[in-house]
């Protein structure tokens, strides 16, 4: 499903350069439930962004579904993201002026699905998240947990093969964290490869595989 070979990434500023990923080798099978842990600046979010085709890498190879992800045009990258990958962010990243249903339906808009059809599908997904009654509410009318559930519904509405979550529980209390993790675990059981970046051990313990990163290198992979 996902194979990385000797992937390197360096960020350059005017004065300095920062070698964030120093030769990552990684293989993730379809349906895996993986967490990536590490201290701040260890390179875990950079790795997730490269996996999500949100960022480029400098050297090495990244294969997604046996396709080499390198030097893609923006249009190709957009199509891949839309087809293959769902994102969940720590700060939810919902669009403020769209209600919950419209936010969830947004990926389908880019698949040219009619408004009526995509709204109907979005309502189904919100129902699955227990938020049907909140469909017409704006994000600022919702709690953090509700927002994250809306974000998860949006991430999976395209039926992606991979779900990438960057600190999905970072802004949530412990009870909501548990609810969100149950949701993510449930989604993984439907066959979606789920990769979570987190610094919370309790969250990582929920996954089957924990990848520890330190200073841009994979230190070890722990199987739960």
């Amino acid at each position: 499903m996902i194979t990385l070979r000797d992937v390197n990434k360096t960020y350059y500023t005017e004065a300095t350069s920062l070698h964030v990923l120093k030769g990552i080798d990684l293989h993730i099978e379809q349906g895996d439930y993986v967490s990536i842990m590490g201290a701040s600046g260890s390179g875990k979010s950079t790795l997730l962004n490269i996996l999500g085709i949100l960022d480029n890498y400098d050297t090495g190879d990244y294969y997604l579904n046996n396709k080499l992800i390198k030097d893609l045009s923006e249009t190709q990258a957009a199509a891949y993201r839309n087809e293959m990958i769902g994102f969940v962010f720590q700060s939810f990243n919902l669009i403020n002026f769209k209600n919950a249903m419209e936010n969830v339906a947004l990926p389908l808009y880019y698949k040219n699905i009619s408004r009526k059809k995509r709204n109907a599908i979005a309502l189904e997904y919100l129902d699955r998240m227990g938020l049907k009654d909140w469909a017409y509410h704006l994000p600022n009318e919702m709690s953090g947990g509700q927002k994250q559930r809306v974000a998860i519904a949006r991430a999976i509405i395209s039926q992606p093969k991979i779900l990438l979550a960057d600190e999905p529980t970072g802004a949530l209390d412990s009870q909501t964290t548990e609810e969100v993790m149950q949701l993510l675990g449930g989604l993984n059981q439907t066959g979606i490869t789920t990769i979570i970046v987190t610094h919370e051990k309790a969250v990582a313990d929920e996954t089957r595989k924990v990848i520890h990163i330190k200073d841009g290198l994979i230190q070890n992979i722990q199987h739960n």
Partner: protein, 415 residues
């Protein structure tokens, strides 16, 4: 395809930045408003110029005698000469390109030169042929114009101007058949005329008394002298051609050096009209340059505000791109916003401009102003809207390009 989401977002952007949108759109609004007003003012000027010349043959020229400036065939320079009756048939024969030819006399200057009973006034006295009415057209309020029989029989008849009639007979009185005394001689009024053109030779038509040419020559002892020759060219022939031929014949007939440019005076209405025409085109071009420049400046304002909008929406653009928005989708979104903002403002400016022009047109129609009917044509409105559309697209290009440089990951990270 109608895309409600896109229009919803355009509306959101405009609505949630009301004051900024209004300020930005004002540039385009004002540019369009000014363009419409200037084009309208230009059309009023053109209409004014056209109405001035309306009723006057624009394919005409006028020729008159002046002192010679060169010695020729034993004659010294500075000799006075005059056009004579005998020249007329020679000209008609020698210049087949002449459509109408009318010799003209002026005369009878002096106070109270036209009298009727106890009323009198000072008016212009002209001696015309019937053909002159083909060159400087008069509308007859009463009666008829001078005809060939008046000329042939040297009848003591006259056509008086509307103002002359009012002074001598009063308003709304038909004076046809009455007599007036012109410089001591009685003439019977056969018509009352109103000049259609605002260009009148020898004074305003309304304040003139026109006598048969032959009668005037004989009654006032003018011999066979002709003061002016008015001529028009047949369609397809330039007036300059007949003017030159007339000059050649007159020079030959009156022993004037062919190279003497000052001995024969004249003016060519066609040339004047062409000058007016070019002046009108020049003004129109200037108006469009200034107007389009103002619109363009408004477009730059829109572009600037779109840049700010893109900056403010960096995160949103990043999220959209993460969710699968292609660069084309984003570009289309931003350019659509720019077009909508530009068109809305432009159409408002267009409507207000047209409204103002209608109002001014209404006021002008009540007055005797030179400017007439300020308006813009449908074609101008369409062209303006097309210009707006182009400006809208251009204004959106720079911000759209800026949006394209935003990397999804950087945008998402932005707080």
């Amino acid at each position: 395809m109608f895309d409600l989401d896109r229009w919803q977002e355009i509306w959101y952007t405009i609505k949630h930045n009301k004051s900024r949108s209004v300020m930005t759109a004002f540039g385009v609004f004002w540019g369009m408003f000014m363009l419409v007003c200037m084009v309208g003012a230009g059309s009023a000027l053109k209409n004014g110029m056209e109405s001035t010349i309306d009723g006057f043959a624009t394919n005409s020229c006028f020729v008159y005698d002046q002192q010679t400036t060169e010695p020729y065939k034993g004659f010294k320079k500075g000799r006075n000469w005059s056009i004579q009756n005998e020249d007329i048939p020679l000209l008609l024969k020698g210049v087949p390109e002449i459509q109408y030819l009318a010799p003209v006399l002026f005369g009878g200057q002096g106070a109270n030169n036209v009298v009727r009973k106890d009323k009198s006034g000072t008016f212009n006295i002209k001696g015309n042929y019937p053909s002159y009415n083909k060159i400087e057209e008069n509308k007859l309020i009463y009666g008829r114009y001078i005809n060939d029989i008046d000329i042939a029989e040297k009848r003591k008849t006259c056509v008086i101007g509307e103002r002359v009639s009012e002074v001598l007979f009063g308003k709304n009185v038909n004076p046809v058949g009455q007599n007036v005394k012109v410089m001591g001689i009685y003439f019977q009024v056969i018509g009352v005329a109103r000049s259609i053109s605002q260009v009148n030779l020898g004074g305003r038509g309304e304040e003139s008394v026109v006598l048969p040419f032959t009668t005037m020559q004989q009654a006032f002892n003018m011999g066979t002298k002709v003061h002016f020759i008015a001529a028009t060219a047949i369609p397809g022939v330039r007036v300059k051609v007949i003017e030159e031929k007339i000059n050649q014949i007159l020079k030959k007939q009156h022993n004037i050096a062919p190279s003497d440019k000052a001995a024969i005076g004249g003016f060519n209405i066609e040339e004047q009209f062409t000058m007016f025409l070019y002046l009108g085109i020049g003004i129109a071009v200037l108006i469009w340059i200034v107007g389009a420049g103002t619109l363009f400046a408004g477009g730059i304002g829109v572009s600037n505000i779109m840049l700010v909008t893109v900056r403010e929406r960096t995160k949103e653009i990043g999220i959209r791109r993460a969710l699968g928005a292609t660069p084309r989708t984003i570009i289309r979104q931003i350019i659509s916003e720019s077009i909508v903002l530009t068109l809305m403002a432009g159409i408002a400016g267009l409507m207000l401009g047209v409204g103002l022009l209608s109002l001014v047109g209404l006021v002008l129609s009540q007055t005797d102003s030179f400017f007439q009917e300020p308006q813009i044509s449908f074609a101008v409105a369409i062209v303006s809207l097309v210009i707006l559309l182009v400006i809208g697209i251009l204004a959106g290009l720079v911000p759209a390009n800026r949006a394209m440089t935003i990397k999804p990951i950087e945008a998402i990270r932005e707080e």
